[in-house]
C-alpha cells in the first residue's frame, strides 16, 4: 500500500529544506565523532550529551543575552550559539582531561567503555531534580517568528539558516585543518601519535584542542536543534547522537567530508520517510538499515579508505 507520489504528498521544496536542515545538524554532530576518532581512534559516546549540555547552556544564557540585545534576532542567536560553544568546548576538554587522558596508554576498549560511563553519568546527573530535572523545558525563542514563502512552500527561517551555518563552519574547519599549524599538528597526531610527538608536537594539547573543537560544534548543533524543536530535555542528545554516529560511519569515519555527506544523507532519508504514510514509523530502521548496507559493501564508509589494521 505504498502508492505515493513524493512530489504530490510531500511538498517537495519544504520537505527538501526540512531534510537539509536536519541533515546539517546531523553533519555538525558527526564532525565531532569523526574528529575524535581521527586523533584517538575511539568513539566518544559522551558527545551526544555535550550537545544536550550546549542546549541547556543556551537556554540559561539566552534570557540574559536577550536583556542586552533586545528581543529575538539573528544577533541574539549568534551570541547564544557562541556562549554555548565556548561552554561546551570547556566541558569537552574537561571530559577528555578527567576521563580519557588517564587511560591514554590503556587498550582502546577501556576508553570506549569509559566513554559510555561518562555518557550515562552526564545523562543521569542532568535528570536529577536538583540539576535540570527529567522534564522537557521550553527553549527560549531566539529568532523572530515569521516564515518565507517560496514556490508555495512555507520555510521557517531557522530551517534556511541551519544549512548556511553548517557550510560556513565546514569551510572554517577545512581551513583550520588544512591551512594552519594547528591543523597540521592535528593531522600529524591522527597519522601517527609517536612520530608526531618525536617531531615536537604536544599530543595532549592537540587532543584536548580536538575535543574542544568537536564539542563546540556539538553545542552549535544542540542550539540549532533546540531552536527547531522548541523543547529540551536531558535525554535529547541520544537519538540525534546515534544517527550522527551512524552518519559518521556511513560517510567513512575519520573523514570530515564523509561526516557531512553521511549526515545530509541520513537527514534527508529520515525526513522523506517521515512524511510517507506507512513509512514514518520506520524512520530509524531506515537510517540504521542504511548503516548496515553500506558497511556490507563499503566497510570503510562512502569516502573512507580501507586501512590495514596492524595488530
Amino acid at each position: 500500500m505504498l502508492s505515493f507520489d513524493p512530489f504530490e504528498l510531500n511538498h517537495p521544496v519544504q520537505q527538501f529544506i526540512n531534510g537539509l536542515a536536519l541533515g546539517s545538524i546531523y553533519a555538525l554532530i558527526a564532525l565531532g565523532y569523526t574528529m575524535v576518532y581521527g586523533v584517538l581512534r575511539f568513539i566518544n559516546f559522551a558527545h551526544a550529551d555535550v550537545l544536550m549540555l550546549g542546549a541547556y547552556a543556551a537556554a540559561f544564557v539566552a534570557p540574559v543575552l536577550a536583556g542586552f540585545l533586545g528581543g529575538p534576532s539573528l544577533l541574539l542567536l549568534f551570541a547564544t550559539v557562541l556562549v554555548a560553544a565556548v561552554v561546551c568546548a570547556g566541558i569537552g576538554m574537561l571530559i577528555e582531561a578527567l576521563a580519557y587522558r588517564p587511560l591514554r596508554a590503556r587498550p582502546k576498549l577501556t576508553v570506549l567503555i569509559t566513554a559510555i560511563g561518562v555518557s550515562l553519568f552526564i545523562e543521569f546527573t542532568a535528570q536529577h531534580p536538583a540539576v535540570f530535572g527529567a522534564k522537557t523545558r521550553p527553549f527560549p525563542q531566539l529568532l523572530p517568528a515569521g516564515n518565507l514563502e517560496f514556490a508555495g512552500a512555507t520555510l521557517s527561517r531557522v530551517d534556511l539558516l541551519i544549512p548556511v551555518v553548517t557550510v560556513l563552519l565546514l569551510a572554517g574547519l577545512w581551513v583550520l585543518v588544512q591551512r594552519t599549524r594547528m591543523g597540521m599538528a592535528m593531522r600529524a597526531v591522527s597519522f601517527n601519535q609517536n612520530a608526531a610527538s618525536l617531531m615536537g608536537v604536544n599530543n595532549n594539547r592537540i587532543i584536548s584542542f580536538t575535543f574542544g573543537l568537536g564539542s563546540a560544534l556539538a553545542a552549535v548543533a544542540g542550539v540549532l536543534y533546540s531552536v527547531r524543536s522548541s523543547g529540551i530535555d536531558p535525554l535529547m542528545g541520544i537519538r540525534p547522537g546515534l544517527i550522527a554516529f551512524s552518519a559518521a560511519v556511513v560517510g567513512g569515519i575519520g573523514d570530515l567530508g564523509g561526516a557531512v555527506l553521511g549526515g545530509l544523507l541520513l537527514g534527508m532519508l529520515e525526513t522523506y520517510a517521515g512524511g510517507v504514510e506507512g513509512l514514518s514509523n520506520y524512520r530509524d530502521a531506515i537510517s540504521f538499515g542504511m548503516l548496515v548496507v553500506i558497511l556490507l559493501f563499503r566497510p570503510a564508509g562512502l569516502l573512507g579508505r580501507a586501512q590495514v589494521e596492524k595488530v
Partner: protein
C-alpha cells in the same frame, strides 16, 4: 572462612528484617505507583496529589474498618520497566492490600499482571486503553475507556469542528495513543468523515517537521493528535512554524499545565477531551476543588487529580463494603460498585471492570483550559 562470615551474617540480618510482616496492624497499607518525575511528571504529580488528599480526608473521618490508611507512593520516573519493579516491591515487601496507579496505559499494563498474579486488587485512576482491565479480574479503573473517548472526539470533529477531512498523527510508542487513534478513526469514518493522512512519531521525538509537512500537503480540516502533552506542545509549535491553519485536537493526554508552558500561544484555540473540569459543576466537585486548593497551595485540580481522588474513594468504599482487606473479597466488592458518587461524577463498574461516565471537551483559550461541553455515554 572468617572473611566470609561478616557479609553473610549481615545479609541474613537484612533478609530477616525484610521478612517481617507488614508493619503494625493498625494501618491499612495501600500502594501507589506514579510518574512523579520524567516525561509525564505533571500527570503523576496531579494524580498523586488527588490520591493523597483522598487518603487524608478518609483518615480525618476515622479511616476505614477502624484503621488508618497508609499510602505508600513509588515513583517510576515515567520510564518503561520501572513500574513492574516498584509494584513488585510494594506488594512483596510492603504488603500493600491494593495498588493505585497509573495514568499512562503502557505503565498500568506493566503493573497489572503482577497485581493479578498476587491477587491484589489494582485500580487505575486514568489509564483509558481497554487492554488495561482485560489483564484480569483484579484490575479496575475509575475512568472511561478509549473507545468512548475516541467516539466522543469523532463526533466532536464532525459536529462542532465541522471537519470532513482529518489527519491523524499517532505516537507509536504508546498503547494509549495507538488505541485512541484507532477508535477515533472508526467513529469518524462511520460518521461520514475521511482520514486523509495517517502518520506516526515516537514518544520522546523532538522533530516532527517531516510528518507535519506531509500532513499540511494533504490539506486536512483538522489534525487529531492523540499523544501526551510534551510531544503535543512541540508538535503544535512546529505546526505553527510551518504555518499550518488546521486546528489540532486530542484526548486526555493533553491536560497538563506543561502543555501551556511548552506550547504557549501555539496551542491556543485547540481542543481535547478529558474526564473532568472544575467548571463542569457537580455537588462533590465544588467541595473537592476547595479542599484541593487549600491542601496544595491554591492550585486548581485537573482531571488526573480528580480521578486520583476518586480511585482512592472507590477503593475505600469497596473495603468498607467487603468488611475486610482480603484481596478476593475487596475485588468482589469493587466489581459490585454501583452509582458511587465521586468528584468526576457517578461511577458504576461494568462487567469489563471499567467505569462508565461522561466526558468533557475543553478548549485552550487565553492560555487557560476552558470548559466547552459535556458528552454523556
Amino acid at each position: 572462612m572468617k572473611r566470609f562470615f561478616l557479609p553473610i551474617a549481615s545479609l541474613a540480618v537484612v533478609l530477616l528484617a525484610s521478612c517481617k510482616p507488614g508493619g503494625d496492624s493498625n494501618v491499612i497499607v495501600v500502594g501507589e505507583f506514579a510518574s512523579l518525575t520524567g516525561k509525564e511528571a505533571t500527570f503523576g504529580t496531579s494524580s498523586h496529589e488527588g490520591t493523597l488528599l483522598a487518603v487524608e480526608k478518609i483518615n480525618e473521618a476515622g479511616g476505614v474498618l477502624g484503621k488508618q490508611v497508609k499510602l505508600l507512593t513509588e515513583d517510576n520516573q515515567s520510564k518503561a520497566g520501572e513500574s513492574s519493579t516498584v509494584v513488585d516491591k510494594l506488594i512483596s515487601r510492603d504488603h500493600a492490600v491494593a495498588i493505585l496507579g497509573e495514568v499512562a496505559s503502557s505503565r498500568s499494563l506493566e503493573a497489572a499482571p503482577i497485581c493479578q498474579q498476587s491477587k491484589v486488587p489494582m485500580i487505575s485512576p486514568s489509564s483509558t486503553n481497554p487492554k488495561v482491565t482485560q489483564t484480569g479480574d483484579y484490575v479496575f479503573r475509575v475512568c472511561f475507556i478509549d473507545p468512548f473517548q475516541g467516539t466522543v472526539m469523532a463526533n466532536f470533529a464532525l459536529g462542532t469542528l465541522k471537519a470532513k477531512r482529518v489527519a491523524v498523527l499517532t505516537d507509536v510508542k504508546s498503547d494509549y495513543s495507538k488505541g485512541l487513534a484507532q477508535f477515533f478513526e472508526a467513529g469518524f469514518v462511520k460518521g461520514g468523515g475521511e482520514i486523509v493522512s495517517r502518520l506516526d512519531f515516537n514518544g520522546g521525538d523532538k522533530d516532527f517537521k517531516a510528518q507535519l509537512t506531509a500532513i499540511k500537503g494533504a490539506n486536512p480540516d483538522a489534525v487529531f493528535v492523540p499523544g501526551y502533552y510534551t510531544e503535543v506542545a512541540l508538535i503544535a509549535v512546529q505546526a505553527r512554524q510551518l504555518d499550518m491553519q488546521a486546528p489540532l485536537f486530542g484526548g486526555d493526554g493533553w491536560e497538563s499545565e506543561d502543555l501551556l508552558k511548552l506550547g504557549k500561544e501555539a496551542v491556543e484555540g485547540y481542543y481535547f477531551s478529558t474526564h473532568y473540569s472544575p467548571e463542569a459543576g457537580s455537588p462533590l466537585g465544588a467541595k473537592f476543588v476547595e479542599d484541593y486548593r487549600k491542601r496544595w497551595g491554591g492550585k486548581s485540580p485537573d482531571a488526573m487529580a480528580a480521578l486520583g481522588y476518586d480511585s482512592a474513594m472507590l477503593l475505600v468504599d469497596a473495603i468498607k463494603r467487603a468488611g475486610t482487606v482480603e484481596g478476593a473479597k475487596v475485588r468482589d466488592a469493587l466489581a459490585a460498585t454501583k452509582d458511587l458518587e465521586g468528584v468526576t461524577g457517578k461511577t458504576t463498574i461494568n462487567a469489563q471492570r471499567d467505569a462508565t461516565k461522561a466526558a468533557v471537551v475543553i478548549q485552550v483559550k487565553g492560555g487557560k483550559f476552558k470548559y466547552l461541553e459535556t458528552v454523556k455515554p
